[in-house]
């Protein structure tokens, strides 16, 4: 920006590009060459074309391959049996020994381009269309060469020399260069061996010039070219800094992202290392950014940092490197490095760099886009769990983008604020979203956080729609759905006719929003952004070369694993960008969550399954883990713990890296449930404490997890019959939920309180809680929870005396369809038992007449409870069964039931710590 730096050039000619040109000549020989290269088959010819395309487009690395790497790739493509390409390549390269050779070479290259006038086509002739990808590449090479000053040509020549020499002595020289540092070789070395390679070539060239008897004119290599020519020198030969030789931080190499030979490259001093084209490097950085987002902390910090450092050294004006550094440190929770790099990136680039940067339509904005810096800083603080600072920064971002009328940024900032407000429990924004925040002050009244959030969401959505930011619209719809799911919409203004107020959430709204958000995919179905797909495709193609033949993945997919098939396999690149897929995926996740809340187990499961099968590739690993968590939870509730734990093991292996987060929490939850059911209260308490610790990590408090932990704490206390303590915990939990407006959790807590009172024998006290919970469930459409509240209510009535049995029974029967349709094992069992109890306590009911009315549900319940290993309830069931059998006079069955009762009681009293392999893992 300061004007010192000249605008970066696009393209420079390097030895590797010369190699590609030679190969291009093989692919499309010019008419003048009498003997075209003999290809074995048309397929082989096509393969060469594809290979060249991949070479020019792939973004799997920042550096151009060296000659030996290129040769080995050629061998991969065409088989070891076909060495002609390699021979041809090496002979042509080594034939380039003077500037004049290079000049002639590029003149020759010009001929293989088909001009518009050459319409006479022979059959066998392949004409390179100047507008095709390869044609463009060739044209750029020729142009770049023509722009070179004489110094540039000399450098190119020197570099080609190094390039060839390295390939010839690749293995042997490595050994020596590696141990050079130890300076152990005391053997005499020729004193002038060190007169660098340039001189070597220089000598060679002069000899040749002499040989050609052209020595009449004086050749000066330090030509004082005019300034203009200097500027045009675009060769970017950049030998590795010998400093890097001593860099001791060759971090653990991540096997799947970086080629393992990276460390090796670091050790070679003075070897010709060239960056790829700008386009390829940007593509590489983009891919790495995606990978960072996807894999999160499993991405190797040091290895990537090393690459970035090298890239920075080679291309100091490529500021995007700083951004990648920022992302890298962000993923590894390095606050200071992240902050430093973020500031550095935006100081340098002023937010006007990158692939996706669209220059402003009007020329008015020449002053950088620092508001984007604010947006990113806000997100960073959010990520690190500093909501207050994040809010401050984002507020500033809003102000600045309003000032500079950068509507796009404003829309994104508003969305970020919404996200912040909805994700983090902020009880009070007063003093943070202060006076300067225009959308709120324009209303002029103090609003609760939720109301502010709603206003913001609406504003942000509208803005995004008017700006046609499709992804933002979709994600705003998602946020809206989330809001609708958990918040009752109240009118913003508290005066006016209140008749229209209905205090319910609206599931249809949620569905509508979700549907709208996934419309996004149709927008992207047709036009694909060629940039990313081309690069990704080429990268994948080249990577497949490196895989051993018939690798596991391929053989799984399609039996035979030859290279041809590998090519077929990855030839269909998805035309939908990853970010869009991610958004749509999260809409499915949200659907699953919504159905979970509304109480439709099958729908929740199906949505989670859809996510797990269709979107795991595109999504971040933590999201994918969430889908698995949902599925496993479902298993636990409906199939018992054995299956759940089996599934958990699979998931743990799959998400090895993120096991710290969601999977770990899931494991704790499952362990807690099981411990409660089995009556291992100590274990339950221990697990519960662990959860509590996880809730308040370094990166801020996870409100959701915190509520869950204390909820579980209360339940553990309840199971231990410490009623007053349980009630106290539940009470404080209720206060917290109320403060942070966690309405859905409120319903659960109230139900728990009702449960506490029921168990402690204060049914009268429990009733209001159950009723309150019911009304909460009603207003939030939490159908399943409502059914379970109804069940509790019925149990409460029942415990008030046998004269309420009728009322209780009718309540239960009302809730049964919901419970049997969607409830888990425990809930169903409880309902059955309650129903049986109602019948039994009804004085007008006689067992002998209608025994199956009681026995059926009881035996059903006993089966389910045995699956769950819920000893307490199971014992109760068998007790009831025994009584019924006794009344019926079926002594044998009675004994059996009594035995089972005894067994469960024993198990409850002497908890066996037998097979708990999972807990040991903790």
């Amino acid at each position: 920006m300061a004007g010192i730096v000249k605008p970066p050039g696009e393209f420079s000619i390097t030895p590797h590009k010369v190699s590609v040109c030679i190969l291009l000549q093989i692919y499309a020989p010019s008419v003048q060459i009498s003997l075209p290269f003999p290809f074995a088959s048309v397929a082989q010819h096509n393969r060469l074309g594809l290979f060249l395309l991949a070479l020019t487009k792939s973004c799997d690395d920042i550096l151009e391959p060296k000659l030996d790497e290129l040769i080995s790739q050629l061998r991969e493509v065409f088989g070891v049996l076909n060495p002609r390409f390699v021979d041809h390549l090496t002979t042509r390269l080594s034939a380039l020994s003077s500037p004049d050779d290079l000049f002639n070479f590029f003149t020759q290259m010009r001929r293989i381009l088909g001009g518009p006038e050459s319409c006479v086509l022979e059959d066998e002739q392949v004409i390179l269309d100047p507008a095709s990808n390869l044609g463009m590449f060739l044209r750029r090479c020729i142009l770049a060469f023509n722009l070179l000053a004489f110094e540039g040509v000399c450098h190119l020549l020197t570099n080609i020399g190094v390039y060839c020499k390295e390939a010839l002595s690749s293995c042997a020289s490595y050994e020596t260069t590696c141990f050079e540092d130890s300076s152990s070789n005391l053997e005499a070395f020729p004193e002038y061996e060190n007169m660098d390679l340039e001189n070597f070539v220089f000598k060679k060239v002069t000899e040749e010039i002499e040989a050609r008897k052209r020595a009449s004119e004086r050749v000066s290599f330090h030509l004082h070219a005019p300034k203009a020519l200097f500027d045009l020198v675009e060769d970017i030969e950049a030998p590795a800094d010998p400093k890097s030789k001593h860099s001791d931080k060759v971090g653990e190499a991540s096997p799947y992202v970086h080629p393992p030979n990276y460390a090796l490259k670091e050790f070679e001093p003075n070897s010709g290392i060239f960056l790829r084209t700008n386009w390829q490097i940007q593509g590489y950085l983009q891919e790495q950014a995606d990978a960072l987002e996807k894999n999160g902390s499993s991405f190797s910090l040091n290895a990537f940092e090393l690459i970035l450092r090298q890239l920075h050294k080679l291309a100091p004006e490529l500021h995007r490197v700083h951004f990648l550094r920022y992302l890298n440190s962000l993923c590894h929770d390095d606050y200071f490095a992240a902050l430093e790099n973020l500031h550095r990136y935006f100081d340098y680039s002023a937010g006007t760099e990158g692939i996706d940067f669209v220059p402003p339509a009007s020329g008015s904005n020449s002053f950088g886009r620092y508001e984007i810096a604010l947006l990113f800083l806000g997100m960073m603080h959010f990520q690190f769990g500093h909501p207050k600072q994040a809010l401050e920064v984002l507020t500033e971002a809003v102000r600045v983008s309003q000032q500079l009328s950068n509507d796009t940024c404003l829309a994104y900032t508003l969305a970020a604020i919404c996200n912040l407000l909805s994700e983090i429990g902020v009880s009070n924004t007063a003093g943070i979203l202060g006076s300067s925040f225009s959308p709120l002050t324009s209303i002029g009244i103090s609003l609760s956080v939720q109301q502010q959030l709603f206003v913001l969401l609406r504003g942000s959505l509208k803005r995004a729609e008017s700006l046609k930011l499709k992804r933002l619209v979709a994600s705003n719809h998602l946020a809206m759905a989330k809001f609708d799911l958990t918040h009752v919409q109240r009118p913003l203004v508290s005066f006016g006719p209140k008749a229209s107020m209905k205090l319910r959430t609206c599931p249809t709204n949620v569905c509508k929003e979700l549907r709208l958000s996934s419309h996004l995919i149709s927008e992207f179905g047709f036009k694909s952004s060629t940039m990313t797909t081309d690069g990704a495709f080429s990268t994948a193609w080249l990577k497949n070369l490196q895989k051993p033949l018939g690798s596991a993945i391929l053989s799984q997919e399609n039996g035979s694993g030859s290279n041809e098939n590998a090519f077929q396999f990855c030839v269909q690149p998805s035309s939908i960008p990853g970010s869009v897929l991610q958004l749509i995926g999260s809409s499915y996740l949200l659907r699953a969550t919504a159905w979970e809340l509304y109480g439709s187990a099958p729908l929740a499961r199906i949505n989670a399954l859809v996510y797990a099968t269709c979107f795991t590739d595109a999504s971040s690993s933590s999201d994918a883990a969430l889908a698995y968590v949902k599925l496993i939870q479902h298993l636990a509730v409906f199939r018992g713990y054995k299956e759940a734990f089996a599934a958990l093991k699979i998931a743990e292996e799959k998400f090895l890296s993120v096991s710290k987060s969601r999977i770990l929490i899931l494991k704790l939850q499952l362990l807690h449930e099981r411990a409660l059911h089995r009556g291992h209260l100590k274990l339950a308490q221990q697990v519960c404490d662990e959860l509590g610790v996880l809730a308040s990590s370094v990166t801020g408090v996870d409100m959701e997890l915190k509520t869950e932990a204390s909820l579980r704490h209360a339940r553990t206390l309840l199971a231990a019959n410490q009623y007053s303590e349980a009630a106290a915990v539940a009470h404080s939990l209720f206060c917290m939920c109320y403060k942070f407006n966690l309405q859905v959790e409120n319903a659960t807590v109230l139900l728990l309180l009702a449960e506490v009172h029921k168990r402690s024998g204060n049914a009268v006290l429990g009733l209001p809680y159950a009723l309150a919970s019911l009304s909460f469930c009603q207003s939030f459409n939490l159908d399943l929870l409502k059914a379970s509240a109804t069940l509790t209510l019925a149990e409460l009535w029942l415990s008030l005396g046998s004269n309420h049995a009728k009322r209780a029974l009718s309540l239960i029967q009302g809730a049964l369809p919901m419970i049997l349709g969607h409830g888990g094992l425990e809930l169903c069992a409880r309902a059955y038992i309650a129903e049986a109890k109602c019948y039994l306590s009804d004085p007008s009911f006689s067992v002998s007449e209608n025994s199956e009315v009681v026995l059926d549900p009881l035996s059903q319940a006993s089966v389910e409870l045995q699956v769950l290993e819920y000893h307490e309830l199971a014992a109760e069931t068998f007790y009831l069964m025994a009584i019924v059998f006794h009344k019926l006079g079926q002594l044998e069955e009675r004994e059996e039931a009594a035995n089972s009762f005894k067994k469960h009681m024993m198990a409850l009293e002497n908890p066996l710590d037998d097979e708990d392999p999972l807990f040991n893992v903790l």
């Binding site: 300061a2 970066p8 004193e191 200097f230 030998p239 010998p242 960056l275 700008n278 100081d347």
Partner: protein, 577 residues
């Protein structure tokens, strides 16, 4: 004085030896110090020195009489015996090589010496190769400018030089000059720890090579590394320490060292300039100006360090003196970064920022790592309201030296100008961290906290407090503190600070609107506190000023009198006009 005498003789020999080895800047430095020593009027005749130096008999005499220096001010110095020359008479090849070297034909020089094995020849050959590599590197930097910025050219001789020198070092057949070169090569290659030990060894055995000292100094960026060096106690060490202290921003320590050195080297321009530098960092502009005036009288064609002088002149807004200086350096050497910087400063003072930027750019073209030019250019862009360019310039300055608090401060200012105070805070924080004793930085940071967008007044107060504690020259902090405290509804604190501010203004004999404001506040405050006597004192002082406050004071007095009429014990007649 014996020690002066010994220094003098040591330096005389060293100059010969250094220039023999083509270490010209070191020999220049040594010669400057030599003439910086106070001449003993008794045995000083300009003729005798000139003639005696060349003859080898004199040299031998100095060598034989073992110099035992008298300790200055209780410090005992070790005497380092002057190095023996291995070949008293230079070979013919050496002479040829040296001539080539002097004509800057380095490779030729190296080639001539290819078969020589004497230590001196080996050194010169290696040094010539090193310089040849450096020259080629500079050329390549321009030739190879890549599409994404400057590519990283390296000195291609380093590898072979390191190999050779390390072998020599292992064999023990290396002299201090060879060690210096070895250290230089190691430093370039990035192995700083080895480089440091090698350089220490070099300066311990031959302390008069200032080049070696300055390389060593560039490797000591923290006080810990500096203290860990195992250096002989030679008087050259004091020069080194003084310069190293300055670099790690221990300005007063450095100043003390230089003043001590001035005892011996009373006429050294170098020391004077260094003292000026330290004083400049301590913001004693007046003294700096005097020093430079004297320096220019003694050494009118000096360009080194003159950019600092121009900074001082700029700060004092002496445009004519600045133009005179600019003219002088321009005539002396137009293509020195310092000259360009001075001219840039002149145009900046004249408000012609475009031209100023042009000259700073020229300075940067001459030396891309010229720190202050980047920062000053940033300032110019700020003046031109081109904030993105300013940000970029400052950021480049920071990348050259992350401890440059001015650049951090400039970045903060730039972002504050763009209406991003919260974002700017990060930069202000950085700058105050690096320079915690500069009140201006604290005041800017406080100002940032105070902006309408942030209104984080508590934090602002904390900053102003820091500013008030570190010698706030413009006396902004106290006044602002008082105002803020008042705004936050803490009248006692406000009164406290107003009173302090008032005392300060009285001490410095300044008057102005701030004085009036303070008096008025104090008067009303004491009146509400019912401490009428004090209130009356302030009111009467207010009467000396003209303006609406005078009337307010009168009415206050009147009001007090009516309230006080209920208190007969008070004597109010005293104040009646």
């Amino acid at each position: 004085m014996n020690s002066k005498e010994s220094c003098r003789s040591e330096l005389r020999i060293a100059i010969r030896q250094l220039s023999d080895r083509c270490l010209y800047s070191a020999s220049k430095w040594a010669a400057e110090q030599l003439t910086g020593i106070e001449q003993d009027p008794a045995n000083f005749t300009p003729s005798n020195t000139r003639f005696q130096w060349g003859s080898s008999s004199i040299r031998r005499r100095f060598r034989t009489n073992e110099i035992t220096s008298t300790p200055i001010a209780g410090v005992s110095y070790v005497s380092t015996p002057v190095m023996e020359e291995d070949d008293a008479v230079d070979g013919d090849f050496y002479l040829l090589a040296k001539s080539y070297f002097d004509c800057r034909e380095y490779r030729r020089a190296a080639h001539v010496l290819r078969d020589q094995t004497g230590k001196k020849s080996v050194f010169l050959r290696c040094y010539a190769l090193y310089l040849a590599g450096e020259k080629r590197k500079e050329e390549e930097v321009i030739e190879l400018e890549g599409p994404l910025g400057k590519s990283d050219s390296v000195n291609r001789e380093l590898v072979s030089l390191e190999r050779e020198l390390s072998t020599l070092c292992k064999n023990g057949s290396i002299d201090p000059f060879g060690l210096y070169l070895y250290g230089l090569v190691l430093k370039e290659k990035g192995s700083e720890n080895v480089a440091r030990t090698v350089l220490v060894e070099s300066v311990n055995s031959y302390p008069w090579n200032w080049n070696a000292w300055s390389e060593l100094q560039s490797l000591c960026t923290t006080i810990d590394t500096l203290n860990s060096l195992n250096l002989n106690n030679h008087w050259m060490k004091d020069f080194f320490l003084a310069s190293a202290y300055q670099e790690i921003r221990m300005h007063s320590e450095s100043l003390a060292k230089y003043e001590y050195l001035q005892g011996t080297f009373g006429y050294s321009n170098y020391i004077q300039a260094q003292i000026a530098k330290a004083q400049y960092s301590l913001r004693e502009f007046q003294q700096v100006e005097t020093i430079f005036e004297e320096l220019l009288r003694n050494d009118p064609y000096r360009v080194e360090d003159m950019d600092m002088y121009s900074n001082v002149l700029y700060a004092n807004e002496c445009s004519s003196a600045l133009s005179y200086l600019a003219h002088r350096v321009f005539m002396t050497d137009k293509y020195r970064p310092e000259s360009c910087c001075i001219i840039g400063n002149y145009y900046s003072l004249k408000g012609q920022h475009e031209k100023s930027v042009m000259y700073f750019r020229r300075a940067l073209k001459l030396n891309k790592n010229y720190l202050s030019a980047w920062t000053l250019m940033g300032h110019e862009y700020i003046e031109m309201k081109n904030t993105p360019a300013a940000v970029d310039a400052y950021r480049r300055a920071i990348d050259i030296n992350p401890c440059d608090y001015r650049a951090w401060y400039g970045l903060g200012q730039a972002y504050e100008m763009m209406g991003m105070p919260f974002y700017a805070l990060h930069y202000f924080r950085k700058s105050v961290f690096l320079q915690p004793n500069d009140s201006r930085l604290w005041i800017s940071m406080a100002h940032c906290y105070e902006t309408d967008q942030l209104r984080m007044l508590e934090e602002a107060i904390k900053c102003y407090r820091r500013a008030a504690n570190c010698n706030d020259r413009e006396a902004i902090a106290l006044h602002q503190l008082a105002k803020l405290q008042y705004e936050l509804g803490r009248p006692e604190e406000a009164a406290f600070y107003y009173k302090k501010d008032l005392e300060r203004m009285e001490a410095e004999e300044r008057e102005g609107p701030n004085m009036v404001e303070a008096l008025l506040y104090l008067a009303t405050y004491y009146k509400t506190q019912k401490r009428f006597e004090e209130a009356e004192v302030y009111c009467t002082r207010l009467l000396d000023f003209t303006g609406p406050e005078k009337e307010t004071a009168k009415s206050l007095l009147r009001g007090m009198r009516t309230t006080q009429s209920g208190f007969p014990s008070m004597n109010v007649e005293h104040f009646s006009p």
